[in-house]
Amino acid sequence: MARAETGSPLERWLRENVVVLEVDQDETGHTTVQTTRLTPEGGLGEHWPTDFMDEAAEEDSSIYYASLAKNAATEAAGFVPVHDEGPEPELESDP
């Protein structure tokens, strides 16, 4: 969803046709169903089901932060800019 272009037929189709259902049962045996749709950003709109894809997300985080720690040691900060406190520079045109 997050990779579909804004307003594209794929995004529209996913938003209109995909619904995530969370089915939960309490101690008395009472079952509830909650629904939620996808958001344009690729998340879930109204409700994120408990534990839904948590393990995968956490694993992804641990791997990512471990790789950062590995790379950090190889970096050196050598760039020292001149911080100008005067008025902004003259520009030929706006961005």
């Binding site: 950003e41 534990d51 950090a72 800019p81 100008d84 005067g86």
Partner: protein
């Protein structure tokens, strides 16, 4: 392609709902404007191994904020062809210093300046994905029921050799790129309808006065000399601006103050830039002539 740099303040600890709301706007901005956030710049590792890691640990698993932080980390795809930092000294503006609106402190000014300079050397447009924090890049002026959020740092500048001065706009939401003056003025000012807000020609320059406080009432100035004051919103209603019109418009419209629909409200509030509501007693004096931006 536009390159985005992440403001470390986006990863500062704060209430989860605030994180979720602010990052949702940033993610939408990246998506709608095809902003690529390079992960191959040195500030990235520092950012995520310190602030990102700490923030993720404090957030409820599965919550919107947690997802949003993970999503923000994802666009960090390696962008090839980013030149190394130049060996010459490079002048930069807005990153550090005692000046009002300097954005960063600690090790961040140099790390972010390096990232900005290297990104600017690609000759792609560069923006800072940022957050407004009172006392840092935001001053709040309040009087009775009127509040004006003054953004005191809306652009950074770097001047790499050969390339020359480059502007890096500080963006918090998609509208900042669609309507550039909203990086400095209130994003809820309308740019459409019969009564649009028309910014000063040199609104980017710090020396250009864009708001004033008259009779204790803080209000945005437009290029025509009209004053735009925003009443505080209570219970989600009243998304409009009090516009105190200039003498010329006063005689054209028949009123010295009109209520104009703000941008960003519900559709039921009306078209942004149209008349929101009018006191019945004033209606007889009013002529709906509108105005256009020069």
């Amino acid at each position: 392609m536009t390159l985005g740099l992440i403001d470390p303040q986006l990863l500062e600890l704060r209430p989860e709902q605030v994180i979720a709301d602010e990052l949702a706007q940033i993610l939408l901005l990246c998506r709608q404007h095809s902003i690529v956030v390079p992960s191959s710049l040195p500030y990235w590792n520092e950012l995520w191994s310190t602030m990102g890691a700490r923030l993720e640990q404090t957030l409820g698993r599965g919550g919107q904020a947690y997802r949003a932080v993970q999503e923000l980390r994802k666009p960090g795809t390696p962008v090839t062809g980013i030149p190394p930092a130049p060996e010459q000294r490079v002048r930069v503006w807005g990153f550090a210093g005692p000046a009002r609106g300097a954005l960063f402190d600690g090790a961040w000014p140099n790390l972010l300046a390096e990232a900005a300079v290297r990104a600017a050397l690609t000759r792609q447009r560069v923006v800072l994905l940022c957050r407004h924090v009172q006392g840092r890049n935001l001053d709040v002026h309040q009087h009775a029921n009127i509040t004006l959020d003054e953004i005191v740092r809306w652009s950074l500048y770097v001047q790499p050799p050969v390339v020359g001065p480059v502007t890096i706009d500080c963006c918090t939401r998609p509208r900042n790129l669609a309507v550039p003056w909203t990086i400095r003025m209130d994003w809820r000012l309308p740019d459409t309808g019969r009564y649009p807000y028309c910014p000063m020609q040199n609104w980017r320059r710090g020396a250009t006065r864009v708001f004033k406080t008259a009779r204790s009432r803080p209000a945005w100035l437009d290029v025509q000399g009209n004053e735009w004051a925003r009443p505080n919103i209570s219970a989600g209603s009243g998304y409009h601006w009090h516009v105190y019109v200039n003498t010329n418009h006063h005689s054209r419209l028949g009123l010295e103050q009109i209520n104009v629909v703000a941008f960003g409200g519900a559709a039921s509030e009306g078209v942004p830039g149209s008349i929101h509501h009018m006191d019945p007693a004033k209606k007889a004096h009013f002529t709906d002539r509108g105005w256009t931006c020069p």
